[in-house]
């Protein structure tokens, strides 16, 4: 791996914390805790079960839940699928209407689309201009047949935070199951499920320094929420999710969440400082736009648009920096980010968005270096941009008759 490459894409995935990797290593070999946690007849199984239950406690502890409310899954995508399809199918006799938002992760939107094909009615709410879903907006769309609301805690592209406390109060009063995709929020925001009126919450391992391929779903016991399982074959996880538990993955997630509980405050204040330094450095660039708002976002994600340059070329020019673009020119669809579109951003801004996301191993030197490189390449690309010329000439791009192809 190129040592000079800077990783600023922690919101996509994190490297595993070395302490997590060490714990996982103890669960692989013949002299380690490799057993099948479901084996009741010997020490290997008992030890593995013990390790899995300890990890479950760590996960529960980070979000102040009962460990019996934590169900292991293969990741947040499976957790979202299990929550949404599982609740919709279990409660279908109560109604067939589900509410979500247009800027959810595909792991929520795609199961909703699938349910739509199966006869459910889905409402996709518009966010406000900063990527936040308001309670008022939700209330306006609730009907007698509404059984489920699925809203993310932190938006993965923008870092925008939804007020799940306020929303939960309303859904609980109105007997609507409330699912929260919290893939981006563990270790970033304090979550207290003993107080929050949330019924289902999805967690990811790898967004919090555990490996990929492990996640969890919180399923409330008080009040008890029921789900129809997606995967059958052995009745593991109290019937919610069959399949041999991957001891090493689970132990990794447990350790990662234990570390998060212990270190999140210091981690977050350090990252907030770095984020401030970064923004101070780049905000002087002409025609730069923050997507989202400082008042209502987590500091580890900074999503900006640089008008009149295209995101993919910016990423290519920032060749020593790993970031991601909202622009999906890499896909066949050639469409800008659906999240930025939903915010009502103009096309040229939606096409030019870059998400910088910081994490535990980000250093101040890296932040300064990337800020400097960003300033340089934005200028270089504008030198190449006919739109920049037009902007400088005072041409209103909205009024130009474009020759589309």
């Amino acid at each position: 791996m190129n040592r000079n490459l800077v990783y600023f894409d922690y919101a996509a995935t994190c490297p595993v914390d070395p302490r997590v990797a060490a714990k996982m290593q103890d669960c692989l070999l013949i002299d380690g805790t490799f057993g099948n946690p479901a084996s009741r007849s010997h020490e290997f199984g008992w030890k593995a079960d013990e390790a899995v239950e300890k990890a479950r406690l760590h996960v529960a502890n980070l979000v102040n839940a009962d460990s019996r409310e934590i169900v292991w899954t293969s990741g947040a995508t499976e957790s979202d699928n299990l929550a949404i399809k599982g609740a919709a199918k279990f409660y279908k006799d109560r109604g067939n209407h589900i509410i979500t938002s247009k800027i959810e992760h595909k792991a929520v939107l795609d199961p909703c689309r699938q349910l739509e094909r199966e006869g459910f009615e889905i409402t996709y709410l518009d966010p406000d201009e900063n990527g936040v879903i308001s309670l008022e907006n939700i209330q306006k769309h609730v009907k007698d047949t509404t059984i489920l609301l699925s809203i993310m805690h932190i938006n993965n592209e923008l870092g925008a935070v939804n007020d799940i406390e306020k929303i939960g109060k309303y859904t609980r009063e109105n007997n609507i199951i409330f699912h929260v995709d919290a893939a981006q929020s563990t270790g970033k925001l304090h979550i207290d499920l003993s107080k929050l009126e949330v019924d289902l919450m999805s967690f990811s391992g790898h967004k919090t320094y555990a490996p990929k391929g492990i996640g969890a779903l919180y399923v409330s016991r008080k009040p008890r929420v029921r789900l129809e399982a997606l995967i059958h074959g052995g009745g593991h996880e109290r019937g919610f999710r069959a399949g041999t538990l991957p001891t090493h993955q689970i132990v990794g997630m447990g350790e990662a969440y234990r570390i998060a509980a212990e270190e999140m405050d210091q981690d977050n204040s350090r990252i907030a400082k770095l984020s401030e330094i970064f923004w101070n450095e780049i905000s002087g660039i002409e025609e730069i736009y923050l997507n989202g708002s400082f008042e209502n976002k987590v500091p580890n994600i900074t999503n900006v648009s640089f008008a009149y340059i295209e995101g993919e070329s910016l990423i290519m020019a920032l060749k020593d920096v790993a970031v991601s673009s909202g622009s999906a020119c890499t896909s066949a669809s050639l469409e800008p980010s659906y999240v930025l579109r939903a915010l009502g951003r103009a096309d040229e801004l939606a096409h030019s968005s870059i998400r910088f996301s910081f994490g535990r191993f980000t250093t101040e030197d890296e932040v300064l270096m990337v800020a400097k490189t960003t300033k340089k390449v934005v200028n270089q690309l504008r030198e190449l941009s006919p739109l920049w010329d037009m902007y400088k000439d005072g041409v209103d791009l909205e009024k130009v008759e474009w020759v589309t192809h």
Binding site: S313, M316, L334, W402, V403
Partner: protein, 131 residues
């Protein structure tokens, strides 16, 4: 996902724009043809300008492109193919040639199509001034 050729052309252009025909000509000049194609909504806009002599030979070109790395590399490739060609020869440049030279993947072929379109528009603009 990018071929080495695309990356090379993109970086050359970025790091030394003036040596790679980035810029603009006087669009009102009689011997200059301008073609601008694409739209911000699609994520790419290409502006090509050609300077043509009395023998109908393209003696110089300038371009600016808003778009992905392949679009910028396609513009550069197109310029290399245009300079020194007659208008008739230039009209026969096909997007396929540009795409093949740059080894563009199929999802990036629209970049070379854009280049071909800009050549056609620039020539048409020049010819309309002559007429």
């Amino acid at each position: 996902m990018y071929s080495r050729k695309v990356i090379q052309k993109f970086e050359e252009t970025l790091n030394n724009p003036s040596a790679h025909n980035v810029g603009r000509m006087d669009a009102n000049a009689k011997n200059v043809g301008t073609g601008m194609v694409g739209a911000p909504a699609c994520g790419d806009v290409m502006r090509l300008q050609i300077e043509v002599d009395d023998q109908n030979i393209i003696t110089d070109c300038k371009f600016k492109t808003y778009g992905c790395g392949s679009a910028i590399a396609s513009s550069q490739q197109m310029i290399e193919m245009l300079i020194g060609k007659s208008l008739e020869e230039a009209k026969n440049i096909k997007d396929r040639e540009i795409a093949d030279l740059l080894e563009l993947p199929s999802i990036k072929v629209h970049c070379s199509v854009l280049a071909e379109d800009s050549i056609k528009k620039a020539i048409a603009d020049y010819e309309s001034k002559k007429a």
